[in-house]
């Protein structure tokens, strides 16, 4: 053998710089290898709490995003008609002055006429602070069209949510059940966790109409009918209650199950019975007498009846023991057999109670009662957009949280655990702030959690104060706003007209809007005098997305490797159940174009506008750039954007600003962790050691123990208003809807989209995010688009045969509001009445520096054309948003369609086909 001699130890790189990925919202740690100043390889950071060294397909392909030809190069000003693509390059000074000239008069006269909405923004605590200083009530990020149902239902019920704010106890859980999860938050931790669990022989069950990804490796799959998850869950609850398989001790100690519900007719009916100090109380089993809920030694009686008032537990049990929730009653509707439902209930009970685990770790609860051990219920759940993107999503998410609570499977060993700064009771969150005073900041944050009708964001005449109608009677708990309603409402002048629409990183002219074609028309609509209906649009993005063409002023952002960022405890940190964690991004390479990080630009704008907090007393800019803000901004005394290395460098969570903080983060691999002590690791909402630790590291200023809300009093307050009680009253046309949707106990109702079924729209249509793409960003990536460059409509075997489809066929898909013609592919592992496609692969011709012949632009398509932001007219003269009536979450997955075989369109192009969007950067050629 004459084998060549190899150098098996070649030089790898000159330097490794550790920062945070932004190829999706997961925020993994990455090692960026550089050779001669160029990025040559990206891999996961082994020390990082989120990804522990692994990295997904998007993360490793980030190297193609940093050199993408779609990157914007310079600020641009529109010179032709809006949408024509006629722009001229301008300097940053000119761009910023233009923005200031537009914004300053608005601030001085009518701040609400600036609507500032950010998309996949990871700096919401900063962008919200800026909008608050400007004084407009019209600010939110993209949560309203993403998964606010999941966030809000979690906060109102548990004081914490799934999303990335909690995690199964991957090490100890024996059964993991996923509802409606595709590649959702948070992606690498779930993959790592599922791998670990299966390795241990723990069981994974997937409840999802589509069996791909996590559901493909699940040990058991329940191919549920879309929109019926809540009904399935309430049936599981029925089975558990019927058999007495609920954690009574947990319910009595840690939830409001022992609170008494006022039974007296009148304005207090259904609220908690309160004592002279206006506190809810419990009946102590030891005495049969009322006792404070937080009293030492109290044994709350779930079965108490006091002066005719019964406990939450009794109301709850009575409701779900009803035969309406028996598996036999819900099976057909859910598309799951009654036996299967009973088997799942039995399995949950068996793992929670017969296979309970115990950690020999003493702890003391908030009542002062000591416990020798920590008893665990090793059943964990996770759920995301599949259940939340329905018009019954809030209540469905609440139902799932109730199931967890009944099993004692929240914050116990082996179950589902929260990550700091959660648990955090709803009462510790702000309420919405919306009152505008020209020239002044808002008095507090825009987004919050309303406790009752008097906190709605309404003007004195009862009309919505916000352009998106968040916190109005149409969607009282819209904690993330309704970004999907901003453009339609601004166009309709409902509730009022705005002047300047300021968007960041949100592709509203394409995949992020419902009813895309009409939204594009709204963006260019003109008044009779020739002025634009939405007078001014400012947009910041790093790439030539579909939205860019519709802006009047473009502020080009950097890529994620060229910027500072802060993944903050004030926002969406990178915590784990055992550690609070935050992180940074820093410019591991410098931009080679005339672009600036958007957050630095926003600070510059703020200084030019003289916004409070952004200027010194002498009127000069307070912060040089975003990095300066990250280190030196003080949110509350001793607390800033980053928790690590405060003060003289050893301050954790609290301490003065430290000029070396950024350098210390870089040295530490780009992140910081504050570890939760062992005795504080579980039962966090009630664990004194955890509460004390949380105060010590600055999460709270005082301990905040609380009980889980099986019965939601804020919801009941809205029902009472709908019944006619109270001074703040809803419009009559919303009363019945509020009575239904604001039920204080989890309830299931038909998704609003199901109203289309009698008209022949018998098929459900869904989208899923692939694991290798993050919405529209992925499709421009030279490597990722080779993996998934097109998106057929997947059709289940039954419909395939029924409609006589064969390979290579096309289908016409019709919804109550739209029609598309698209290529189809057969798929067996799919609910028999559901079709689906990959999300946001379809591109508009000319966008993202892709060729006009790109498969993404020709065969690729969006389901968005079938989904309206408004429900079909009901004939009552009102139009209702296609959103959850509790939170306003966009009900993407309510979509109902009919499908038929169609002749392939001419040119082999999916319909509707749009003309090319004018290019603002040249088409890419080489990578």
């Amino acid at each position: 053998m004459n084998q060549p001699r190899l150098n098996t130890s070649p030089h790898v790189s000159d330097e490794v710089r550790k920062t945070t990925c932004y190829m999706c919202a997961c925020r993994c740690g990455i090692n960026v290898h550089l050779n001669s100043g160029k990025v040559t390889y990206i891999e996961g950071n082994r020390d990082h709490p989120i990804n522990k060294g692994v990295l997904c397909a998007k993360g490793a392909a980030g190297i193609m995003q940093v050199t993408a030809p779609s990157r914007l190069r310079t600020p641009l000003r529109r010179v032709g008609p809006r949408g024509s693509g006629a722009f001229e390059p301008i300097s940053w000074d000119e761009a910023l002055q233009t923005a200031v000239d537009w914004m300053r008069p608005l601030r001085e006269t009518a701040p609400e006429k600036l609507a500032f909405f950010t998309g996949r923004d990871q700096s919401q605590s900063f962008t919200g602070w800026w909008a608050q200083a400007f004084g407009t009530p019209n600010y939110a990020a993209h949560g309203g069209f993403c998964s606010v149902n999941m966030a809000a239902a979690g906060i109102y019920t548990l004081g914490g949510a799934f999303w990335e704010f909690g995690a199964p106890d991957w090490e100890r859980s024996k059964l993991f059940v996923l509802f409606g999860v595709a590649e959702d938050h948070d992606s690498n931790p779930i993959k790592i966790g599922i791998g670990q669990m299966k390795d241990r022989g723990a069981r994974v069950i997937g409840v999802n109409p589509i069996r791909t990804g996590y559901n493909a490796v699940a040990d058991d799959w329940i191919g549920i009918t879309p929109g019926t998850d809540g009904l399935l869950i309430l049936s599981l609850i029925h089975c558990l209650l019927e058999a007495g398989k609920v954690d009574l001790e947990y319910l009595a100690r840690f939830t409001n199950a022992a609170y008494l519900i006022n039974e007296a007719a009148g304005p207090e009916k259904g609220l908690f019975v309160r004592n002279a100090e206006a506190q809810p109380f419990v009946i102590d089993r030891r005495t049969g007498m009322p006792a404070p809920w937080e009293a030492k030694g109290v044994q709350p009686d779930l079965g108490a009846v006091w002066q005719g008032h019964r406990t939450v537990f009794q109301h709850m049990a009575e409701r779900y023991l009803s035969p309406d929730y028996a598996p036999e009653a819900v099976a057909a509707r859910c598309g799951v057999t009654a036996l299967r439902i009973r088997q799942l209930a039995a399995e949950l009970a068996s793992v929670a109670f017969d296979q309970a685990i115990e950690i020999k770790q003493p702890w003391v609860d908030f009542r002062g009662d000591a416990h020798d051990t920590m008893i665990g219920r090793p059943v964990s759940f996770h759920a995301m957009r599949g259940i939340s993107a329905h018009s019954n999503g809030f209540q469905t998410a609440r139902a799932l949280h109730l199931l967890q609570i009944l099993l004692g499977a929240v914050e116990t060993p082996g179950s589902w655990r929260m990550k700091p700064p959660y648990p955090k009771p709803m009462e510790a969150h702000p309420t919405p702030h919306f009152v505008t005073v020209p020239g002044k900041p808002l008095s507090g944050p825009h987004l919050g959690y309303v406790r009752g009708p008097d906190q709605l964001a309404l003007l004195p005449d009862g009309s919505p104060a916000r352009i998106d109608k968040a916190f109005s009677w149409e969607n009282p708990f819209s904690a993330h706003g309704l970004m999907h309603m901003v453009i339609p409402n601004a166009h309709a002048g409902d509730p009022y007209r705005i002047d300047t629409l300021f968007l960041y990183m949100a592709n509203m002219a394409w995949n992020s809007s419902m009813n895309t074609a009409q939204v594009m028309e709204m963006l260019t609509a003109q008044e009779p005098d020739g002025s634009y209906t939405i007078p001014r649009i400012i947009y910041s993005d790093a790439y030539a997305s579909e939205m860019v063409a519709y802006a009047d002023l473009i502020l080009p952002d950097t890529t994620y490797l060229e910027r500072h960022d802060c993944i903050s405890m004030l926002d969406r940190p990178v915590s784990e159940p055992d550690a609070a964690g935050d992180a940074i991004r820093w410019p591991v390479v410098e931009p080679d174009r005339d672009v600036r990080g958007f957050q630095s630009v926003l600070l510059d704008l703020g200084a030019r506008l003289g916004l409070p907090g952004m200027v010194n007393d002498d009127g000069t800019a307070k912060f040089k750039d975003y990095a300066d803000y990250i280190v030196n901004h003080i949110r509350r005394p001793g607390v800033g954007p980053l928790m690590g290395f405060r003060g003289s460098g050893d301050g954790e969570g609290r301490g003065a600003a430290n000029p070396d903080q950024m350098a210390r983060y870089i040295e530490n691999g780009g992140f910081y962790q504050a570890h939760v002590p062992a005795e504080a690791a579980f039962f966090k909402p009630w664990n004194s050691a955890y509460q004390d630790w949380a105060v010590q590291v600055g999460l709270f200023d005082t301990p905040q123990p609380y009980l889980f809300n099986i019965w939601s009093e804020p919801m009941r307050r809205f029902q009472l208003a709908a019944e006619g009680h109270g001074a703040v009253q809803p419009p009559d046309h919303l009363r019945n809807r509020l009575k239904l949707a604001m039920d204080p106990l989890p309830v299931w109702y038909e998704p609003f989209g199901d109203a289309a079924e009698p008209f022949g729209f018998t098929v459900h249509a869904l989208t899923q995010r692939p694991m290798d793409m993050y919405h529209s960003w992925g499709g421009q990536n030279a490597w990722l688009r080779q993996i998934r460059g097109h998106n057929p409509l997947f059709v289940p075997a039954k419909l395939w045969q029924q409609h006589g489809f064969s390979e290579g066929d096309w289908a016409r898909v019709t919804s109550p509001t739209g029609q598309i013609t698209v290529p189809v592919v057969q798929m067996a592992a799919l609910n028999e009445n559901t079709v689906w496609t990959w999300n946001a692969i379809g591109k508009r011709k000319g966008a993202w520096a892709l060729s006009e012949g790109a498969t993404e632009a020709k065969q690729g398509f969006l389901l968005n054309h079938l989904i309206s932001e408004l429900l079909p007219a009901k004939g009552d003269g009102m139009r209702y948003s296609n959103s959850d009536p509790v939170t306003g979450q966009a009900a993407w997955f309510d979509l109902r369609v009919r499908i038929e075989r169609a002749e392939p369109p001419q040119m082999g192009e999916s319909l509707p086909a749009f003309g090319a969007v004018p290019r603002v950067v040249p088409e890419g050629s080489k990578r």
Partner: protein, 245 residues
């Protein structure tokens, strides 16, 4: 015609667990990223922003639909790369000796300096695991990250193939399959790891672990009601359930 070594000192390879592969494609781009700047010429891409992008990838993941006779339909995700066969037909077919199997560890490599781009090896490989780089005109294939696994410029824990290091579910394992005590050999023994297309006579080194049997009805017996609620009413149920405290 190139000869195979009689026997290699070690037999390095991958064990890929189809039970936990979620089809996320992480291994695909980690491989592309490393090998684009690693052993041999870069992995080129043609028309990367055009209508028919196509590039060189040494590892690809496919998804297949499976319909078991006694269970619900399934998707199986299947990563495919060079299996570093013991009887590698791509080596014996090579007219220049460019394709060879290393004596010390059994890795099948292409000496790009000697490769004339004739493509015979790709034709001979029954697994479709070799790709001709369209820019360079040389044959590319999985090197098992030969420039990582012994690389003294990398921390020791990183001396494994890029695909293994990045796999989020831990579905990819790397080690010496000739050593019965190695973790990979133990895993293959425990899970019944199998050869891909054994009838081809290639004796692949890489092993696959089949998906475990799914959709098993669970073993817990159905829950029995506490009592006949219809007969006793809610009060009867409440007494019974709270009596358990």
């Amino acid at each position: 015609m190139t000869c195979l070594p009689g026997r290699s000192e070690r037999t390095l390879g991958l064990v890929i667990d189809l039970d936990t592969c979620v089809g996320c494609q992480a291994c695909v781009t980690a491989c592309k990223g490393w090998n684009d700047q690693g052993y041999g010429v870069p992995l080129s891409d043609q028309n990367p922003y055009g209508s028919t992008p196509s590039g060189t990838f040494l590892n690809r993941v496919h998804s297949y639909q499976v319909q078991p006779a006694d269970a619900a339909p399934m998707i199986v995700n299947f990563p495919r790369s060079c299996l570093h066969c013991t009887d590698a037909p791509c080596v014996t077919v090579c007219p220049t000796g460019a394709s060879y199997k290393r004596v010390e560890d059994g890795i099948v490599l292409v000496n790009e300096d000697a490769c004339i781009g004739c493509g015979l090896c790709a034709w001979a490989c029954p697994y479709g695991a070799r790709e001709m780089d369209a820019d360079a005109g040389v044959m590319k294939k999985c090197t098992l990250c030969v420039d990582r696994i012994y690389n003294e410029n990398l921390p020791e824990e990183d001396r494994e193939p890029a695909c293994v290091r990045t796999c989020p579910t831990g579905a990819r394992h790397f080690g010496d399959l000739a050593d019965p005590q190695s973790a990979v050999s133990q895993l293959v023994a425990a899970r019944g790891g199998y050869d891909l297309m054994p009838e081809q006579g290639t004796r692949p080194v890489n092993k696959y672990l089949a998906p475990r049997k799914k959709d098993r009805p669970d073993k817990a017996s159905l829950l029995a009601p506490l009592l006949d609620i219809q007969a006793t009413g809610f009060a009867g149920w409440l007494d019974r359930v709270l009596g358990k405290i």
